[in-house]
């Protein structure tokens, strides 16, 4: 069968597009859809930016101030702990535990000069 006749036969058998919406209507629909898509994308981008900002603020607010603003984080219990000193051994001390805050430690006798204190 000649190619031309086969082509004609197939072309005749192929269903023609039915009368649907015309180009103008389809194009207008496409333009409207594209505008809606852009609007949605912009809204999504804005929401993402707001969310990122909110997360950043929350993270910043939840971070302890501490040394960031130059102040020391003083805790009373820890501070008092630093005023006590405990000798590793009580062999040379009259009292093993000394409250540095309230009293000076008694110096061990062996450090005194034979003739009394120098000053």
């Amino acid at each position: 069968m000649p190619e031309r006749r086969l082509e004609d036969a197939v072309r005749r058998a192929w269903p023609a597009p039915p009368p649907g919406r015309g180009f103008a209507e389809v194009w207008a629909g496409a333009a409207a859809r594209e505008a809606r898509r852009r609007q949605r994308a912009r809204a999504l981008a804005a929401a993402a930016a707001v969310a990122a900002l909110a997360v950043t603020l929350v993270v910043l607010m939840s971070t302890p101030g501490g040394e960031a603003d130059g102040a020391f984080d003083l805790r009373t219990a820890e501070l008092y702990e630093t005023t006590r000193w405990t000798a590793p051994s009580d062999a040379l001390l009259p009292e093993r535990r000394v409250d540095l805050y309230g009293e000076l430690p008694a110096m061990i006798e062996s450090t005194e000069m034979p003739g009394g204190p120098l000053l």
Partner: protein, 177 residues
């Protein structure tokens, strides 16, 4: 080259040229989606969206027709991938709905020639449609289908041989041959 009624995001595409192609594009879209008019129109509208926004950009390497057909084909493939997992549900649902979007059954569609065309493998059927019915060359049709010209030529030859084998006698009887 900048055409007079060119699109903002696709300066090589003119609205008039697209309008001239509309019927052919719709026909190509129809055969991408089992001849469902609503789906085909939606597919064409999506293709126009892609072209309008510039996401599908025409660089004039091929003809505008080839380019638009390629966009429709890619969108149809994407749609098919999305629907694959839901196909069974859709088919069951489709049986319960009215068929107002589907082309009415045409008695001619059941003739031997149409049956033979529909029995062709998908790529052979595509190239037959593109070359015979959409007036593309084999090179252009191959480009639309995303295959090399050599592969397109093989599909084309096999399709013709298959159609001749199945329809030779029928067409002789109808006086087509």
């Amino acid at each position: 080259m900048r055409v007079t009624d060119a699109l903002e995001n696709n300066p090589r595409v003119s609205l008039a040229a697209l309008e001239a192609l509309h019927t052919d594009v719709l026909g190509w879209a129809l055969s991408r989606c089992d001849f469902n008019l609503h789906v085909a129109e939606d597919l064409v509208q999506q293709a126009y969206m892609e072209i309008l926004s510039g996401r599908a950009r025409f660089d004039a390497e091929a003809s505008l027709k080839t380019f638009v057909f390629g966009v429709v084909r890619n969108l149809a493939k994407s749609r098919l991938r999305r629907l694959t997992t839901r196909l069974r549900i859709l088919r069951r649902h489709a049986a319960e709905t009215t068929d107002d979007g589907v082309m009415p059954p045409d008695p001619d569609r059941h003739d031997a020639l149409w049956q033979a065309v529909m029995r062709l493998p998908a790529r052979q059927r595509d190239i037959v449609e593109l070359v015979f019915c959409r007036d593309l060359t084999i090179e252009e049709a191959s480009r639309v289908m995303g295959v090399t010209t050599g592969t397109g030529r093989v599909h084309y030859d096999r399709a013709k041989k298959a159609l001749r084998r199945e329809l030779g006698a029928t067409l002789e009887d109808r006086g087509d041959a």
